[in-house]
């Protein structure tokens, strides 16, 4: 057995540099003569820019240049725009926006960049920024999507035909859904608020841009999840071909979807470098990050469920507004789409009518944040099922059992167009129910009550999509016979340096510790799409499998020639080609690889170099799924919610590295729990000012927040749509946790008359809900 192979809990090879402080993050990169940029940001949420005076700043000590929106126009820089719009999915056209790298004439959110000051030290840049004088004529600002959707006196984009509504999406069939509702014996309805969140990875955004006057090329080091995507977007904005722009993602300190696309600052540092003749570095402060990073969630949804006397779902309807922010982010469409398509979940839903409107607001743009619309979808269907269970007096695990798609019904096509290939949803749920001792709850509830606390339990089942788009992976041997993985995906905490090497170690039989790993540099990796959307295990892994197959195929020819047999006589196993029926006659792959580098002779026939590449695409998706059960205790006097125990069972198909996979669950869980109980980006109504502008106010969880008891297990059902049988693991816990927690909190509070509560369930809100119910 290969102790470095697939399925083994191999400790990570990348860790050594991180625990010794030798990681190389963007701010650790300081080219010689590096200058420093400071973005002057709009203090107001919505305004016309009436004057910009930079002379004072430009004359300040150490300042090399000051750029404004006027310079953007003069330079002919283009704006950032959405990668996909509804019309690309066959929906009615939306209103496309172009986000300038610096505001031109108008600011649309507090924090929008208005000027870029470049100086010889960060201190000089900050000092000079204070001297930039800008006059604003303020306009009314809208910050909530439900308010912005109906606003009549305040339009973020005056040329948007829908007011502040950029698009409308629909999935399902109105007639079928309405008919099902009409004949349904029961229905329930809810309105849910999904707060705006900030991804807040520990490493803030940052980039270093260099223009090379000698050859007219550019190099960008940036804290990103997607170097090739950034290259494409920024090259477009600068008006250069991608061949002129090298993008490097160094070590990146977390992303969670927020860093999956380019930002104006990526273009600014390159443009400024050309303007001032030196490399330019810009690193966000945390306050800037909270203000200007692409946000997540921020959706309000009205949903209804029609069901029969057995609790069987007959139909679901939903109508939502989803905030987009001041401009449509490159991937701004994604959460809107997923927020509808996964509403049916893993349940047998035969009729649905699901609508959402993407709405402009005077806040920084919104896009994918771990889960990207699936949390919104899952929260809705899970809450509706809880309400239905209440109406019928059904156990909440039982109502789910009755609706989960049975394994015998797979492959199953959802009314939103997904084809679920594999899954044992009922078995996953049952295992979680057993592990969580669901049936033993009452005794624990009584014990909590004796100690003066209300105890509640919640259950949620999620299904989601792991992987989008295609990608490319390469395997390249060197003359010494050792192999390098060249990855189009981009690890920023996921441990790819280890997990891909586990795969290659298994498939090619080469020593694990000899395998090298390259990612993230557009000069070294011909093409890739980065890492987000839980894509790498399937798309990267399957592409890597194909690359390995290509290598083996190519090597077989050489092996056969070296052994003077026919390739058909050869078998490959354990890193070795052997003649079928005669194991003594064989040759190691590493030796075969070396033969590809002979200076003359056999390479004439086979070519110099042993390498292989593979691609994989997500036409047939994978669907990770799982069950969460949460128990909470509520101190009804203070409203404080404590999580007592938490149980998760996940089907992520083949588990490549159980330790790394479990780590993804823990991290996703922390974010999901925090969404339910702690985190919310708050903007002041009227002024549009961000209130939660620091880590003192925005509640990212600390170590004491995590429950003492977190039990997780994998219940693998191999995926049938990729050769590895994997399903993505990165986002499931973030999706399943909020509904499980809210279900538990409401379960604890229902005896007091509370029927509804929105996230985050802070102590004040819980207490207010109790007071409201008692009146």
């Amino acid at each position: 057995m290969n102790r470095f192979g697939i399925g083994q809990a191999v400790t990570r090879v990348e860790d050594r540099r991180f625990v010794t402080g030798h990681g190389r993050y963007t701010d650790d990169i300081t080219p010689s003569r590096c200058a420093y940029g400071f973005v002057v940001r709009s203090p107001v949420a919505h305004a016309r820019i009436t004057s910009v005076e930079v002379a004072g700043a430009a004359a300040a000590p150490g300042v090399l240049c000051v750029l404004t929106g006027e310079d953007v126009v003069k330079a002919g820089l283009r704006g950032f725009t959405a990668s996909a719009m509804p019309e690309d999915l066959g929906a009615p056209p939306g209103h496309r926006t172009f986000r300038p790298v610096l505001a031109i004439g108008k600011v649309r959110f507090a924090g929008e960049g208005v000027a870029f000051v470049v100086a010889d030290t960060p201190g000089h840049a900050a000092d000079a920024a204070d001297l930039v004088e800008i006059d604003y004529e303020t306009l009314p600002a809208v910050v909530r999507p439900d308010e912005a959707a109906v606003a009549r006196d305040s339009f973020v984009h005056e040329d948007c035909p829908g007011g502040n509504v950029a698009w409308g999406l629909m999935f399902g069939d109105a007639a079928a859904a309405d008919a099902a509702f009409a004949r349904a014996p029961h229905r329930v309805a809810v309105r849910l608020d999904n707060s705006r969140l900030s991804a807040s990875p520990l490493e803030p955004r940052g980039c270093v841009g260099e223009y090379h006057a000698a050859d007219g090329g550019y190099t960008l080091h940036t804290s990103t999840q997607n170097p090739h995507g950034v290259r494409q977007e920024v090259a477009g904005v600068l008006g250069v071909t991608e061949t002129r722009l090298r993008v490097v993602g160094p070590d990146v300190g977390g992303g969670f979807g927020m860093k999956a696309d380019a930002y104006p600052e990526d273009a600014l540092v390159l443009w400024a470098s050309r303007a001032c003749g030196r490399p330019v570095k810009w690193i966000a402060t945390r306050s800037e990050s909270l203000l200007s990073d692409t946000g997540g969630r921020d959706q309000v949804v009205d949903g209804e469920l029609a069901f029969d006397d057995e609790g069987k779902i007959l139909a679901v309807r939903a109508s939502a507004v989803h905030a987009l922010g001041a401009y449509i982010a490159p991937a701004g469409l994604v959460p809107s789409v997923f927020s509808l398509r996964f509403i049916p979940g893993a349940y047998d839903v035969t009729a649905a009518h699901l609508l959402t409107r993407g709405v402009f607001t005077n806040t920084s743009p919104l896009g994918p944040y771990r889960g990207a619309g699936r949390p919104e979808a899952t929260y809705l269907i899970e809450r509706l099922l809880d309400e239905a269970a209440l109406v019928l007096g059904l156990d909440r695990a039982e109502i789910r059992r009755r609706n989960l798609i049975p394994a015998s019904a797979l492959p199953y096509r959802t009314v939103t167009g997904y084809a679920y290939d594999s899954g044992e949803f009922g078995r996953v749920l049952d295992r979680c129910v057993t592990m969580a001792d669901w049936d033993g709850f009452e005794a624990r509830r009584l014990a909590s009550e004796a100690a003066g606390r209300r105890r509640g339990r919640g259950i949620a089942f999620y299904i989601e999509q792991g992987g989008v788009f295609n990608d490319r992976m390469e395997l390249r041997f060197d003359p010494g016979g050792t192999v390098t993985i060249v990855a189009g995906t981009f690890s920023h905490g996921q441990g790819h340096e280890t997990t891909y090497a586990q795969m290659v170690s298994d498939w090619l039989g080469v020593p694990f510790t000899d395998i090298r790993f390259i990612q993230g540099d557009t000069d070294k990796v011909p093409f890739g799409r980065g890492t987000y959307a839980a894509r790498s295990s399937m798309v990267g892994g399957s592409a890597l499998r194909r690359a390995a197959d290509a290598v083996i195929d190519r090597a077989a020819g050489m092996a056969a020639a070296l052994m003077e047999v026919s390739p058909d006589d050869l078998e490959f196993a354990g890193g070795r080609f052997t003649v079928r029926g005669d194991e003594a006659a064989g040759i190691d792959l590493t030796e075969v690889a070396r033969a590809f580098y002979y200076p003359m002779g056999i390479t004439d026939k086979f070519g110099v170099g042993l390498e292989g590449s593979g691609t994989w695409s997500t036409e047939r998706e994978n669907f990770p799924n799982g069950c969460h059960i949460c128990e909470v205790e509520v101190d009804t006097e203070t409203g404080e919610v404590t999580i007592g125990r938490y149980t998760l069972v996940d089907d992520i198909g083949t588990v490549i590295n159980p330790m790394i996979a479990e780590g993804q669950l823990h991290g996703g869980l922390a974010q999901g729990l925090a969404q339910a109980l702690l985190e919310q980006q708050v903007y002041e109504t009227g002024s549009g000012q961000l209130v939660t502008g620091s880590f003192g106010d925005y509640g990212v969880p600390r170590i004491g927040f995590m429950p003492a008891r977190v039990e997780s297990a994998f219940e693998p059902v191999p995926c049938l749509t990729n050769p590895l049988g994997v399903k993505g693991v990165g986002e499931g816990a973030t999706i399943g946790a909020p509904p499980a927690v809210m279900s538990a909190v409401l379960d604890a509070l229902r005896p007091l008359g509370v029927t509804h509560l929105d996230m985050p369930a802070t102590p004040d809100r819980v207490w207010q809900a109790i007071q409201g119910a008692q009146r």
């Binding site: 860790d15 070590d251 402060t285």
Partner: protein, 155 residues
């Protein structure tokens, strides 16, 4: 202004503006980029170093304030084949993912174990309150500190 710092056992004499934070002085002139900046309100602890043996947030100190004192950064804790037991435990227990918060955690954990070699889980949680992680969900960080404690680690 002149700054004299003993960092990881080596004495350095250099120049700093009064407004240069200790973390920037370590990262810039001294080239020790292992200590990181993660916030601007002294919340996240990514900048944690040991000052005269105490865990402090180097973003909330001026370089000139630290002059005359001893600093231990993550680079001084262990390297190569000679890792501190805390560093080894973080690897063994998968106590890190992106690695950005890790130097701060490793030093905070080192400081905790130096003063309390056998902490309870509650004491570990209290002792690491000053450090934020966004990737791991903390579960494996707790396991790592427990593992380092039970390996009988003293620096």
């Amino acid at each position: 202004m002149k700054v004299t710092l003993t960092v990881n056992g080596t004495r350095h004499e250099g120049e700093a503006e009064p407004r240069d934070l200790l973390v920037h002085y370590l990262r810039g002139p001294l080239g020790l980029t292992g200590t990181h900046v993660g916030c601007d309100t002294s919340q996240c602890g990514a900048c944690t170093v040991l000052l005269d043996g105490d865990a402090v947030k180097s973003c909330t100190m001026l370089a000139v304030q630290a002059s005359g004192h001893e600093v231990l950064t993550v680079e001084g804790l262990g390297c190569g084949d000679d890792l501190d037991p805390v560093q080894q435990a973080f690897i063994a227990e998968h106590g890190l993912q992106c690695g950005y918060c890790t130097p701060g955690f490793v030093l905070a954990a080192r400081h905790l174990l130096d003063r309390n070699p056998h902490p309870t889980e509650a004491e570990i949680r209290r002792g690491l309150e000053g450090n934020l992680c966004r990737c791991t969900g903390y579960v494996n960080i707790i396991r790592a500190v427990q593992a380092a404690a039970s390996s009988g680690s003293t620096a």
